[in-house]
Symmetry: C2
């Protein structure tokens, strides 16, 4: 446990960019004079909600699946996740023509289960506890010979997510600051390494829900402090930061700020209403930090990563609240 | 009344393009492999919901306001509208630095009133009948010397809306078909003239709600047949087609197809869920014709105009229905 794992290099990111170019979408950067005026800054929204599968996860999963040698990937890939990584992995496996095995908690929403099944993945249901999920995944891997693709604690996944920033800095080279949400840290660590390489003077700041602030606390403590009971509407931001991502985050990320769920919901609604973009709570967190004044943006050129748009249109937070 | 009004020329459209370039957004074209597979076609969504003010109306209003000579525009511009044209006209007048006078029915949603007021326009409320609106507008014009900018029966407005197709055909030159919603016909006529000029072999088909099918009936009859009592969820598609737009539509539009409101709501939901785009009912009508099989698209490359995204997020059609 004492040895530092090998880190995320620029070479891995460049290779990922080339590898996944035909597999993912180069997402647009959109702007709004209304939101700029409110923030007193120039905001450049990187629309990963418009990514294949509705989230940046397509990048990391595609890079991981397509960087495995034929002999290794032949028997398939596996993961335990009920979220966007599961669907992204199923899609990447489908494109590569190998099986995908997804371990999901029994209480995962039917819509998410159906989405993964449509992509041809085989689902194993388990008790909704972390230990049960890991045990079920280990059993699936032992039985099938599939390769585990971790949702974030994996250099190939991190290199794939890093391409968000590579693209963004091609689209808007002169950014002062990049804001991205942090959960397991695959996205934030990738963005940090890519931004440091391409534009050393730009700062990278992570954004976390107040009710799942393990990365913020870990950054202050200098070591990973797991989140015992994450409590946030942002279902994509409940994981504890991973070992490999944390190594890059502590090195290259200036700060991690937190936002309350009320600010996340308000930011989400502004993005729908003013930008006309469907963004999920996790995807709105980075903008919430701007709108709620949790990070200094005045006068700056700011890249804001909208990380995903997969949301149940039948239960929107503002309408649920209006009913209560 | 017997003379044909002068028509929409390519010269007017080219001039509009140059004039409004600094005033409006060049909107992106987005695609979806999922929706392509469902349709058996290649669909290119022209995202006018991402336009300034959330609708294509910014184009026509800007062109009309900025093509008036100083001496004429000095005392302001006026219109009677409660919809996207009112806000677009208020914005264009604000940019030109002249007053905007908007006549609105007393029952217009407060949100729309507030949006127009934020842009500095002066609002006159009137009874919610067409005759009362026209009378109130005439009084405002008599009292102020403002110039009436009609929402669609105006060549400068039509030329502005035509730039949607000019841009689209630059972004995707080899289209076989362009689909756009039709209400007063400003957008459809502009698109028809621009498409005919730039790509004579491409067809242009209009889409109308079944409950407001005056343009479809007018095209069949060869003369304008007004809609007595429009009944549709698509609040932007309730007007009767105008004289000048109809002249171009009868000449250059292949067909006008109709869609039921159920298809409009289903299409709107698909666009939110799969494309992650907030599109209003009127803005989803063109895609509804594809999804409901009301026009033949199989094997074709189809431009689909998503005309706007201004919708009340507190009352979405699928959630309202779930409550009933």
């Amino acid at each position: 446990m004492g040895s530092t794992p090998p880190g995320l290099t620029w070479a891995l990111i460049e290779a990922a960019r080339t590898r996944i170019a035909p597999l993912v979408r180069a997402t647009p950067v959109l702007t709004s004079t209304t939101l700029d005026a409110q923030a007193g800054a120039r905001l450049f929204f990187k629309c990963e909600n418009l990514q294949k599968g509705g989230a940046f996860k397509a990048r990391g999963a595609s890079n991981a699946v397509f960087s495995l040698p034929d002999a290794q990937v032949r028997r398939g890939v596996a993961t335990h996740s009920s979220g966007n990584h599961a669907a992204a992995l199923a899609r990447a496996a489908h494109l590569r023509g190998v099986p995908a095995y997804i371990v999901m908690p029994q209480n995962a929403p039917l819509a998410k289960r159906a989405a993964v099944e449509r992509l041809g993945a085989r689902i194993t249901l388990c008790e909704p506890m972390q230990a049960a999920r890991e045990r079920a995944a280990a059993e699936v891997i032992a039985a099938t010979g599939a390769v585990l693709i971790h949702p974030y604690d994996d250099l190939a996944v991190m290199a794939g997510q890093a391409t968000v920033a590579v693209e963004l800095l091609e689209q808007v080279p002169d950014l002062d600051l990049v804001l991205a949400p942090v959960s397991g840290g695959g996205l934030l660590s990738g963005i940090a390494v890519a931004t440091r390489t391409l534009r050393a003077n730009a700062q990278v700041v992570g954004v976390e829900p107040e009710g799942a602030d393990d990365a913020a606390r870990s950054l202050r403590a200098g070591h990973i402090v797991p989140c015992e009971k994450p409590q946030t509407i942002a279902d994509g931001l409940r994981a504890t930061v991973g070992v490999r991502p944390f190594e890059e985050i502590r090195r290259y990320v200036t700060d991690i700020v937190t936002v309350p769920d009320t600010a996340i919901v308000a930011a989400m609604r502004s993005l729908w209403e003013i930008m006309k973009l469907v963004v999920e709570p996790s995807g709105a967190a980075a903008y919430a930090a701007v709108a709620a004044g949790r990070t200094e943006v005045r006068g700056k050129r700011v890249g804001v990563v909208l990380s995903g748009g997969n949301v149940d249109l039948d239960s929107l937070p503002w309408i649920t609240r209006a009913r209560e």
